[in-house]
């Protein structure tokens, strides 16, 4: 039994951690939060140069050709510093869609650019309020032209292209959905930046009016492929969340050691100590569930759907739990703009919704456990 990463993988993680400690301090996150840029372009270029973006992309497409285990650990480090870069959109999603469903020509055209950071991709499924379902996808492709509105789309205002889920031809429900690659810099696309709870990442409303759309994968296969890729991305996102949870816990712990009240460090009070112990518990459970997810992702196990939902539910809760109690531990100081607590609080709540909300994944988890149970019986 070996439910751990290898020494080589940990060495790579360590290298990425040191790079991010230098290049992505909280000030870099604030610069995006408060400034006009959609993401930290210098940081993104640095990550590309380090090989981080293409770590799981095959060498023939300009990547490093390593496994998704390495990508999991990189995700953890990006989450730890809540990096203001579009890695989740471009790498966990767009690159994975291309790898799993793209034609040779599509892979050759886009993957090297995603690995080098020269291009950014994203994924556009959601259309407004409520839980997503196939029936709620109204965007339509006719005669190779896409029309409809997708919102909120992470990195929609800065991505070069999007993998868009839309209806094409006849059919109902999930089998009516197909995927298309759409150039977001081309004609028929209006992008509006959205105001969100986490401005350290950017979101946009995309309005398509006859935008040229190139099919990705088979017609009617869109929902199935998207579900598969979102499971894979959910595991990577869960690693980001665990990284963020760990950092929020560390911030709270450091402050509890340093802040004096009633003549003693506040960490000596059980009210604070037990709050932090519970944060440690949720972060640890989430980490263990993420390792299960990493194993499923890297081994291509049939348990991947269960593992993805498990990791995702657990990590979403852990990051939200740690981020909110980090503010609580800091007391009034934690609610100031100057302290970094709110950066983690914002990110934890934004990530809780990306790829589908907590209740969506809870539902998926039980549906899948039920399927696994029925199969076993």
């Amino acid at each position: 039994m070996n439910l751990d990463f290898s020494d080589d993988q940990k060495a790579l993680q360590d290298q990425v951690r040191r790079f991010l400690a230098e290049k992505c301090p909280p000030a870099a996150v604030r610069a995006v939060l408060e400034g006009p840029e959609p993401y930290d372009k210098a940081l993104y270029a640095g990550l590309a140069k380090l090989g981080v973006l293409g770590v799981a992309i095959p060498e023939e497409y300009g990547g490093m050709g390593l496994s998704h285990l390495e990508l999991c650990l990189i995700a953890e480090e990006l989450g730890r510093v809540i990096a203001p870069v579009p890695v989740s959109s471009s790498i966990y999603l767009a690159a994975e869609f291309l790898l799993q469903a793209g034609s040779d020509a599509q892979k050759a055209r886009w993957l090297p650019k995603l690995a080098s950071g020269e291009a950014v991709g994203t994924f556009a499924m959601v259309e407004g309020q409520g839980r997503i379902s196939a029936d709620k996808v109204h965007a339509t492709v006719q005669g190779g032209k896409l029309s409809g509105v997708k919102s909120p789309i992470p990195d929609g205002d800065c991505a070069d292209f999007a993998i868009v889920a839309a209806r094409s031809g006849a059919g109902r429900g999930e089998s009516a959905i197909s995927l298309f690659i759409v150039d977001l810099t081309g004609p028929g696309v209006i992008r509006e930046t959205l105001t969100t709870i986490d401005p350290s990442r950017s979101y946009a409303k995309l309005t398509f009016d006859g935008a040229p759309a190139e099919p990705l994968g088979g017609e009617g296969d869109g929902w199935r492929i998207a579900a598969q890729i979102q499971d894979r991305a959910a595991i990577l996102m869960a690693f980001e969340q665990v990284g963020g949870a760990d950092r929020a816990l560390e911030m709270a712990r450091d402050y509890a050691l340093e802040r004096m009240a009633f003549g003693r460090p506040i960490g000596s009070f059980q009210a604070i100590k037990h709050l932090l112990a519970d944060m440690y518990v949720s972060a640890t459970l989430a980490r263990s569930n993420c390792y299960y997810g990493a194993w499923a992702l890297a081994s291509g196990s049939s348990e991947l759907p269960v593992a993805a939902a498990t990791a995702r539910v657990s990590a979403t809760q852990a990051f939200q739990h740690c981020a909110k109690n980090n503010i609580q531990t800091h007391g009034g100081m934690g609610f100031t703009w100057a302290f970094d607590c709110h950066l983690y609080y914002r990110r934890s709540n934004a990530l809780a919704l990306a790829l589908g909300s907590l209740s969506t994944w809870e539902d998926l988890l039980i549906e899948r456990l039920r399927g696994a149970n029925t199969e076993a019986a």
Partner: protein
């Protein structure tokens, strides 16, 4: 990353599996699968006799106390081999219940602190299950605050060097079945609390020892109260120096933390099955959105414990000492079990109040509801475990103490205010 054995581990597993297949009491398998809280599930014969028979058989073939040295009746196997054995032993492992405290805590303490003659006398029959041990630590007035114990040992006034012990212990599992007890006493009330303690072992049939079962809140009687009325203990049965009892007790408590498996059960698989079978408005309960949300919460806790256990086994397999992440097991399992039981009863509607043979799953959730408060207390309460995590894992400072530097006799207690 994989769930496979190394070649050496696989070889050990094959060997263990073959021996178990040839020797396990298969006629008890069905009963053992129904094991409930604090019982092996054996009903067709005397459960203690069944436990002792299996332990003796294991000892005769070198499968008892896998982690102990051979000269004391153990198997001298590695920690990871012990884990593999546990996986292979499966349901038969619940027959080991009566020996857990002796093998896991008392034995290692004797091994660390007793002289050679005592070790040779005491450990082999403990390993083979012929003799059972209990741990006489907690008292009515000192649970979490163990060092506040009051059972006193004073030198006999006849010049024999013996000690005379008076007082009482409580929450003593298995005392009624035990031949030996590991006993911590106060020998000096005039020094600070941790400095005045001394550890002994004694025969449980010593004159003046009175074991009385405690009727627990759930109606069962797994624990006892043990009274000591001027019990005489030879000085040769002292472990460690006079006044060193706290240090000796830490050996015992540390060993408690080393017993790891693949995560404690929370009752989730049973709840999931129940939700597949039970109906809400004519549809399976598992179809209900609010049920799903709660189930998912329990599922990720169960899974998190399972994989935390596997990470610990991985560390063992690499020869590392498992990290403090293992201290979360009981903290999570106890609270989850309690919430899960309440939820299962809620799903049964007003009939959830019934605890009889007709209750779903043989009233398992009702029993769980009534037993779970103890899980949150025994072997370190939730609050003590949070202190351990806060102080030893996260490095937070200890609470400010008013009882560490004053003589024990001057510390205010519930019955003696300052």
């Amino acid at each position: 990353m994989d769930f496979e054995d190394t070649p050496e581990e696989a070889a050990f597993r094959t060997k263990a599996r073959a021996w178990i297949a040839a020797n396990a009491p298969k006629h008890l398998e069905a009963e053992l699968k129904r094991a409930g809280f604090a019982s092996s599930g054996v009903e067709s014969e005397d459960p203690m006799a069944a436990s002792k028979a299996w332990q003796k058989k294991k000892a005769e073939s070198g499968w008892a106390c896998l982690h102990w040295p051979k000269e004391y009746g153990g198997g001298a196997y590695s920690p990871i081999e012990r884990v593999i054995w546990g996986q292979e032993e499966g349901v038969y492992g619940s027959l080991s219940g009566p020996f857990i405290i002796g093998h896991g805590m008392c034995g290692p303490t004797v091994m660390a602190w007793a002289n050679e003659e005592h070790k040779e006398r005491l450990l082999p029959p403990l390993a083979s299950g012929e003799e059972i041990w209990c741990q006489l630590f907690s008292e009515p007035a000192s649970g979490s605050d163990l060092a506040g114990l009051r059972t006193k040992a004073v030198p006999a006034d006849d010049g024999s060097g013996d000690w005379i012990v008076s007082g009482s212990k409580v929450w003593t599992s298995g005392a009624q079945h035990s031949q030996w007890g590991l006993l911590i006493t106060r020998t000096d009330p005039d020094v600070p609390k941790h400095k005045g303690l001394t550890m002994f072992f004694l025969r449980m049939d010593s004159p003046g020892v009175d074991v009385r079962p405690i009727k627990q809140a759930n109606g069962q009687s797994g624990f006892n109260e043990v009274f000591f009325n001027e019990v005489r203990i030879p000085d040769s049965q002292r472990l460690g120096a006079v006044g060193q009892g706290w240090e000796v007790s830490l050996t015992t408590l540390m060993n408690e933390r080393l017993s790891i498996g693949s995560g404690m059960s929370t009752g989730f698989p049973e709840l999931f099955q129940f939700c597949m079978d039970a109906e809400i408005d004519g549809r399976p309960a598992v179809d209900d959105a609010s049920v799903r949300s709660r189930l998912a919460q329990f599922a990720v806790k169960q899974s998190g414990l399972k994989y935390t256990g596997m990470r610990a086994i991985t560390a063992l397999s690499k020869g590392q000492t498992p990290g403090p992440e293992n201290s979360i097991g009981k903290l999570v399992a106890g609270a989850t079990m309690q919430e899960l039981a309440m939820f299962a009863l809620d799903l049964q509607g007003q009939a959830g109040v019934i605890q009889d043979a007709d209750s779903p799953m043989n009233a398992r959730f009702q029993a769980m509801l009534l037993r779970s408060p103890a899980t949150r207390i025994e072997g370190g309460s939730d609050e003590i475990l949070r202190n351990i995590i806060g102080e030893r894992v996260l490095g937070l400072p200890g609470d400010i103490r008013v009882d560490k530097t004053v003589a024990f006799k001057d510390i205010p207690t519930s019955g003696r205010k300052s």
